[in-house]
C-alpha cells in the first residue's frame, strides 16, 4: 500500500501530506508508535539527554491507542514543522524500537528512512472511522484513542534509578528534615557557619487517622560542606535532594530516568522532590516563606546585672599626638612614580642612560640635589631600575614603595601635617624624615642627559656619490592578449 516517493514527484495520494523544500514528504504532524510505556520512557530519556522538550511541548500529545485486535500501544504526537526535527525524532524512535509516521489528521504514512529518502505515500487509503490510520511498509493498521497520557504525571510516577555518584555532585542541596529534627539541624548548620535558607512546609496527612498536617523543615543550602554530606544522606528523618531543574529535585543517590531539566513541566515557584525507593514524590505547589538560617539561631537572654550603664560626664580627650613612623607594608605596589638615586649611584644612572628607551627618557623628569637625584615619571618609574622607589600618595607627596605611614592617616592629613609649601615636592624617607625638593628644580631627563660631542664634517665626495641619480632603465614588459582593454579615451567635457 506504500510506495516510495521519487525525486521531483509532486502528486501525493495521502491527504494532508506535502513536500517540504527538500522534497521530503511531510504532514503537519509527526507520530511515533511505541509498543509499550517503557519504550516511551526510553524515547524521552534518550531525547532529553541532548535537547530540550521545550519546543515540542506546545504540540506534544501522548495517547494509549488500541487496535481492532485489542492490542494497546503508545503514540506520541507532535508538530512536524521540519524534516530536521522529524529526522531527529525518527532516529531516536528507531533506537527504542518505535515507528515514525507523518500526516495531518487521520492518515499517517511512514516517515522517510534510508530506503526512501523522500518518504512514502499511501496509494490506497483505508476506509475507516478510527482516530488513526497508520501506513507502514510492514503493516497498515487503524487505532482508536483509549486514554491520554500526561507528561508530568508520567514523570512523577517514574521511580528514580540508584546513582550513588549523584551524592558527590557539588552544588546546592535541598534538605528536608522531619519536624523534630528541624531545630537541631538549624543550630548545627548555624554553628558550622553554613549559609542557607530554611522554611517549614506542610503536607496533607498521610492517612485518614491523622488529623494534623505533616510539617517538615525545608532547607535550601547553596553549598553543603563535604563533611556534612554523609550526615545528611544517612540520618533517618533527613532527606537530601539534588536540584535537577527549576522547581524539581531528586533525592541524592538517585537519578531520574528522564532528564528533568529538559522537561518544562515544573513550576519554578514550587518544588517537586522526587524520592527514591519507590516512595511518592513530595510536591510543594508554592515554596513556603524562607528565612536565613541565622535568623533561627538560638538566642539567650542575660538575666543578671543592670539593664544599661550610662556615662556620668564627658571631657575633652588628652593630646594623642605621636611621632610619624614609616614601616614596611605588604600592600601591593601601585603608582610608583618616583625614585631617589643617592649621590653614590648617580654615575650608575649615567651609564644606565645609554640603555634606557626613548619613551622612558622622554617621560622622566629629574632634579639634581645634594642628596642625590630625584626622578619622577607620571607613567611609572620602574623602567629606571635604580635607587629607592617612591609611591605618590598625594600630589607632590611621596612615601617609599613597600612602606606605609603609621599612624595610618589619610594622605591629605599627612600632607597637611607635614606642612609643605606649594611648589615643593616632599619625599618621606624610611626614617620618617621628609626631603623637600622645589618643583621647579625638576627638568626633563632627556635635556639633562645629552652632552654635546664633537662632530666632524662628512666627506663631500661621499655625499656627492650618495646623491647621484640611479639611471632610469626602461624595461620591456608583456602587453597581454588584449593590450587595449581598459584604454578608454578621456570623457567628454561636462561628463
Amino acid at each position: 500500500m506504500l510506495e516510495r516517493i521519487a525525486l521531483h514527484q509532486t502528486r501525493l495520494h495521502t491527504p494532508g501530506l506535502g513536500l517540504d523544500a527538500k522534497g521530503v514528504a511531510l504532514g503537519a504532524k509527526g507520530l511515533v508508535l511505541l509498543p509499550s510505556i517503557d519504550r516511551l520512557v526510553g524515547l524521552l530519556s534518550v531525547y532529553t539527554r541532548e535537547r530540550s522538550l521545550e519546543d515540542l511541548m506546545p504540540s506534544l500529545g501522548m495517547n494509549v491507542v488500541k487496535s481492532k485486535l485489542g492490542t494497546r500501544e503508545i503514540t506520541l504526537e507532535f508538530a512536524a514543522e521540519s524534516s530536521d526535527r522529524m529526522d531527529r525524532i525518527a532516529e531516536t524512535a528507531r533506537l527504542v524500537g518505535g515507528f515514525t509516521f507523518t500526516g495531518t489528521a487521520r492518515h499517517f504514512v511512514q516517515y522517510r528512512d534510508a530506503a526512501a529518502p523522500f518518504g512514502y505515500d499511501a496509494t490506497t487509503l483505508l476506509a475507516t472511522d478510527a482516530a488513526l490510520a497508520l501506513y507502514h511498509d510492514r503493516f497498515s493498521q487503524t487505532y482508536d484513542v483509549e486514554r491520554r497520557v500526561e507528561l508530568r504525571p508520567l514523570l512523577l510516577r517514574l521511580m528514580p534509578h540508584l546513582d550513588p555518584a549523584s551524592r558527590l555532585v557539588p552544588g546546592p542541596r535541598v534538605v528536608v528534615a522531619e519536624q523534630g529534627l528541624g531545630p537541631a539541624l538549624v543550630h548545627y548548620l548555624v554553628r558550622s557557619r553554613v549559609d542557607g535558607e530554611v522554611g517549614v512546609a506542610e503536607w496533607a496527612p498521610e492517612s485518614a487517622f491523622e488529623d494534623a498536617p505533616v510539617r517538615r523543615w525545608v532547607f535550601r543550602i547553596p553549598e553543603l560542606p563535604r563533611r556534612m554530606q554523609p550526615l545528611m544522606h544517612s540520618t533517618p528523618g533527613i532527606r537530601c535532594f539534588v536540584p535537577v531543574a527549576p522547581g524539581a529535585a531528586v533525592e541524592a543517590g538517585h537519578r531520574h530516568p528522564v532528564e528533568l531539566r529538559a522537561c518544562p513541566v515544573f513550576d519554578p515557584a514550587g518544588l517537586v522532590l522526587v524520592r527514591g525507593g519507590g516512595e511518592e514524590p513530595w510536591i510543594l505547589d508554592r515554596m513556603p516563606p524562607m528565612g536565613p538560617l541565622t535568623a533561627f539561631a538560638r538566642v539567650e537572654m542575660r538575666t543578671t546585672g543592670a539593664e544599661a550603664s550610662t556615662a556620668s560626664a564627658t571631657r575633652p580627650a588628652d593630646s594623642v599626638r605621636v611621632p610619624l613612623r614609616v614601616v614596611p607594608s605588604t600592600a601591593p605596589w601601585k603608582n610608583v612614580t618616583a625614585t631617589w638615586v643617592e649621590p653614590a649611584q648617580v654615575p650608575l644612572l649615567r651609564r644606565l642612560a645609554y640603555a634606557l628607551p626613548h619613551g622612558t627618557i622622554a617621560a622622566a623628569r629629574v632634579a639634581m640635589t645634594a642628596r642625590g637625584a630625584f626622578l619622577r615619571s607620571s607613567g611609572g618609574i620602574e623602567a629606571i631600575p635604580l635607587g629607592t622607589f617612591f609611591v605618590e600618595v598625594h600630589p607632590n607627596l611621596y612615601v617609599p614603595a613597600g612602606h606605609e605611614v603609621t599612624p595610618s592617616v589619610a594622605p591629605e592629613v599627612l600632607a597637611r601635617a607635614l606642612g609643605a609649601a606649594p611648589g615643593q615636592v616632599l619625599f618621606v624617607g624610611t626614617d620618617a624624615r621628609a626631603i623637600a625638593v622645589e618643583e621647579s628644580a625638576f627638568a626633563p631627563l632627556e635635556a639633562a642627559l645629552v652632552e654635546a660631542s664633537p662632530w666632524e664634517p662628512a666627506v663631500a665626495e661621499a655625499i656627492e656619490q650618495a646623491l647621484d641619480d640611479a639611471p632610469l632603465d626602461l624595461k620591456v614588459t608583456g602587453i597581454g592578449m588584449l593590450p587595449l582593454r581598459g584604454v578608454d579615451p578621456a570623457p567628454k567635457q561636462g561628463d
Binding site: A470, L474, K475, V476, T477, V487
Partner: protein
C-alpha cells in the same frame, strides 16, 4: 573602469617612484585617458609607506637643487594624470607592439595619451611647476638597455630585458660576446608608433611641466620652444629665478643656442608674448657679465647653433642694458657702469641689431 587603486599602485611602483628614485621603469598594461584623469581623485595613497617616504625624500632632494623647499605634498591629481600619461607613452614604445596586428594598438594608446594631455591643466603656480619637475625632471633620461648576445653559432638581441644566463654560460668555450647598448626614449628601435608622433607627444608632455622643459632645453628632441606654460613660469620673479638656476647647470653655449632659436621663433610668430623670454635672456646676460654664470663657448664657425647663441646673447645684452639703464635692478653705480661696459660689445653686435629690429617691429 578597472580598479583605480590597483592601477595607481602599479603606476606608482612601476613608473612614478623610479622616475624619482631611479632604477628599473616597468610600464604595464596601458592605462588610458579616462583612468589617468580619474586616478588622482580623492586622497590617493599607496600601500608601501616606506617607498612613498623615499620618493618624497627624493623629490625634496631634487627640488633643493633649485630652491630651498623642505617638503612636498603627495602627488596631485594632475601629477597622477601626467604619470599615467607618461606610462602610456612608454608602453606605446614597447617593441612587442611592432607586429602587423598589434601596431594599431600602439598607435591607439599614443593617440589616447595625447588627448589626455590636452585635459591636464597647465601648472598654475611656480610651486606646482617645481612639484611636477620633481616627478618628471628626468623624463629625457629614460633609456632602454638592449643586450646583444653572440656565441659561436648564433646571436640574439634582447630588447629591454636581461639576456638569459644560459646563453652567457661558458663564455670562453662558446666564445660568448655580450654587448649592451643604451637607447634613449626617442631613439628606440623598433618602434611600433610613428616616431614623429611620439616626439610630438613628448613635447606636449614637457609643456605640462615647464620647469623640466626649461631645465632640459639643450635636448636634441623634441626641440625647446617657448610654450605658454614656460612663458608663464618665467614671467614671475620666483619662476625666473628657478629657471635661471636650472639653466646655470647646463652648458651655457647650448643653452644660448636653444633659447636663441626658441626666442627668435617666438618673436617671429607671437611677438606680443615674448617679453618674459626677453627678460630671462636679459637677466641671464647680466649674470654672465657679473661672472655668476659661465660664459661658455659658442664654438667656431657659422653653424646655426652658433648663430642662435649669438642671437640670444645679443638680445640678452640689449635687454640687460635696458634694465641697467632703467635702474630697476638697483645696481650700485660703479658696478652698473662695469656691467654696461661688459655688455656694450654684445649689444652692438649684428645679432643684437637683428634682435632689436625684431623687437622694434612689434613696438
Amino acid at each position: 573602469m578597472a580598479d583605480l587603486g590597483a592601477i595607481a599602485e602599479r603606476l606608482y611602483a612601476g613608473v612614478m617612484a623610479p622616475m624619482v628614485l631611479g632604477g628599473a621603469i616597468e610600464p604595464g598594461h596601458a592605462i588610458g585617458a579616462r583612468a589617468a584623469l580619474a586616478l588622482g581623485e580623492g586622497d590617493r595613497t599607496t600601500t608601501d609607506p616606506d617607498r612613498e617616504f623615499q620618493v618624497q625624500l627624493g623629490r625634496v632632494r631634487r627640488a633643493r637643487r633649485l630652491a630651498a623647499v623642505d617638503r612636498f605634498p603627495p602627488a596631485s591629481r594632475s601629477e597622477w594624470a601626467l604619470g599615467a600619461i607618461l606610462h602610456d607613452l612608454l608602453q606605446a614604445a614597447n617593441p612587442t607592439f611592432d607586429t602587423v596586428l598589434r601596431r594599431s594598438a600602439a598607435e591607439r594608446i599614443l593617440l589616447v595619451a595625447r588627448d589626455a594631455l590636452d585635459r591636464v591643466p597647465d601648472a598654475a603656480t611656480v610651486r606646482e611647476a617645481l612639484s611636477r619637475h620633481t616627478w618628471f625632471g628626468r623624463v629625457l633620461d629614460i633609456a632602454r638597455t638592449d643586450t646583444s648576445v653572440s656565441w659561436w653559432v648564433g646571436s640574439r638581441t634582447y630588447l629591454g630585458v636581461e639576456a638569459p644566463h644560459r646563453l652567457q654560460a661558458w663564455p670562453e668555450l662558446r666564445r660568448v660576446s655580450v654587448v649592451k647598448a643604451e637607447h634613449a626614449l626617442l631613439e628606440l628601435e623598433p618602434l611600433a608608433v610613428d616616431r614623429a608622433g611620439l616626439t610630438e607627444a613628448l613635447a606636449r608632455f614637457l609643456a605640462k611641466t615647464p620647469l623640466t622643459a626649461l631645465a632640459t632645453c639643450t635636448r636634441d628632441a623634441p626641440p625647446f620652444v617657448w610654450s605658454p606654460a614656460t612663458l608663464a613660469l618665467v614671467a614671475t620673479r620666483p619662476g625666473r629665478t628657478l629657471a635661471l638656476r636650472a639653466l646655470a647647470k647646463l652648458p651655457a653655449a647650448d643653452v644660448d643656442a636653444a633659447l636663441g632659436r626658441a626666442t627668435r621663433d617666438l618673436l617671429g610668430a607671437r611677438r606680443s608674448m615674448a617679453a618674459p623670454a626677453v627678460t630671462l635672456l636679459g637677466e641671464r646676460a647680466l649674470a654672465q657679465a657679473a661672472g655668476h654664470v659661465d660664459r661658455g663657448h659658442g664654438g667656431a664657425g657659422p653653424s646655426p647653433a652658433h648663430a642662435h647663441a649669438a642671437f640670444a646673447r645679443g638680445l640678452g645684452a640689449v635687454a640687460g642694458m635696458l634694465m641697467l639703464e632703467s635702474g630697476e635692478a638697483g645696481w650700485p653705480h660703479g658696478e652698473r657702469a662695469r656691467l654696461i661696459a661688459a655688455l656694450d660689445v654684445a649689444a652692438r653686435s649684428p645679432p643684437a641689431r637683428e634682435a632689436v629690429a625684431l623687437l622694434g617691429e612689434g613696438s
